[in-house]
């Protein structure tokens, strides 16, 4: 029963994630004074990719890479509460499991793209793994005060421990919240931290040799990733919400990243990591100091 439930859940999140991607394209188009594609365009793209007749593969690992990436992100959904709705699994310490599972996606891509032996893919992977040094540390340090304050490392319990509006972690820890927003931009791979994909520079990086069904799988991986990443952020900082408000919250956070994405140029890799080790690191340290002084 719960397996069926999980697959329905996965389907729902995939479709909503694809609609978010469509909304992002529409918003970007409006910022650039264009009409843009219909909101359901990414769904059509994925259907088209799955309808491709043949797809080149460079070996077993190359085919398995997107599958590993998608499985990793789908497993994260087991632990991700949609607002005040109970997740399928929760225990003390599931935050760390989720942080590890978030790395499975880029690793799957790395394994798959590595086998294609395309130099653009290799550069993209190297950038993805170096970028993690930047945003992962900030993301973890920004959420640390929240988990420390409520004395648990379970996402579900942190949500339940927070109350209605004025008791949100975002309001208790505004400095960490801002640092978290910086980290989220990198986690989502939006500009100015888009250097992993960078279509004009390294021809879409790790995805350069993927086409057809594999690319379709990578698209839905990205779609679920959007919901998981913004959802994790909303869960940790905005407390218990009904499911509709949860999606409204994720959309607002996503909207902010898309707007920044639409008006920003792209960093080079060393600039991006140096940026993260500047202001966002300082903010996240201040956030930790705040909770330390407070207790």
């Amino acid at each position: 029963m719960s397996i069926l439930y999980f697959f329905l859940y996965l389907l729902l999140v995939t479709i909503i994630g694809l609609l978010y991607m469509g909304a992002a394209r529409k918003i970007t188009a409006h910022i650039q004074n264009r009409y843009g594609p219909p909101v359901y365009q990414p769904i059509l793209d994925v259907l088209k990719l799955f309808a491709k007749k043949d797809t080149a593969s460079h070996g077993i690992m190359h085919s398995l890479g997107p599958v590993i990436a998608y499985t990793g992100i789908a497993a994260t959904l087991l632990f991700l509460p949609l607002g005040n709705h109970t997740p399928l699994l929760h225990f003390n310490g599931d935050l760390f499991v989720v942080l590890y599972l978030l790395v499975v996606g880029p690793l799957g891509m790395a394994l798959g793209a590595g086998e294609s032996a395309n130099s653009n893919a290799t550069i993209g992977i190297a950038r993805a793994l170096s970028m993690m040094l930047g945003y992962e540390i900030i993301f973890f340090m920004a959420t640390l005060p929240v988990f420390y304050h409520y004395g648990t490392a379970s996402i579900y319990r942190v949500i339940q421990a927070q109350g209605a509006f004025p008791d949100w972690a975002a309001i208790l820890f505004p400095i960490s919240f801002i640092a978290g927003l910086f980290a989220l931009q990198g986690l989502m791979g939006e500009k100015p931290f888009e250097l992993v994909v960078a279509p004009h520079e390294i021809a879409s990086g790790p995805m350069v040799e993927y086409g057809g069904k594999y690319l379709g799988l990578l698209q839905i991986w990205h779609a679920v990733g959007i919901i998981v990443e913004t959802g994790l952020f909303v869960d940790i900082f905005f407390g218990p919400q009904s499911i509709l408000w949860f999606f409204a919250g994720t959309f607002i956070v996503f909207f902010a990243t898309v707007i920044v994405n639409a008006v920003m140029p792209r960093f080079r890799i060393e600039q991006a990591v140096r940026f993260y080790w500047g202001l966002p690191l300082l903010l996240s340290i201040l956030g930790i100091l705040q909770v330390y002084i407070w207790r």
């Binding site: 264009r34 594609p37 793209d45 309808a51 007749k53 350069v208 057809g212």
Partner: protein
Amino acid sequence: MKLFKFAQSRSLWMMHFCTGCGAVELPPTMTSRFDMERFGIIPMATPRQSDLLLITGYLTVKTLKRVVRAYEQMPTPRYVIGFGSCTINGGMYWDSYNVIKKLELYIPVDLYINGCMPRPEAIIDAFLKLREMIDKGEANAWKKYIENYEWYKKNQAEVFDVEKWSLKK
């Protein structure tokens, strides 16, 4: 099945192989003025990801080799649009020694846009026409390439033949 057809015609990822003058008409087609993204057409970075190959103008023998290679890397179903008179009959390069005259002999073409140079309106019109053809199941040039593979390879080998094209003759 119908849904997949619909998706195939509404979502075309293109690779523009910017060889000739045609390249200059594509940026206005992509950006705010003509905005082809509203038809679901966006430029893609590599042939493996794209469905639509745009040959924007004349092709030298040297470029043709790359075009054939890019074309063969694209997953099927794939579509080709030839831009301008150069791809149809050589255009103003009709007597040039190193430019191919008829693109159709080397890779199958679904649609030509004539003009020297076609305006963005004409390009968008061609995209809509291609969408219509896919809906009706007429855009089958890629099947021709698979069925007549030997014939295409023979034609390609003829121009790739260095001896024949060398200036000594």
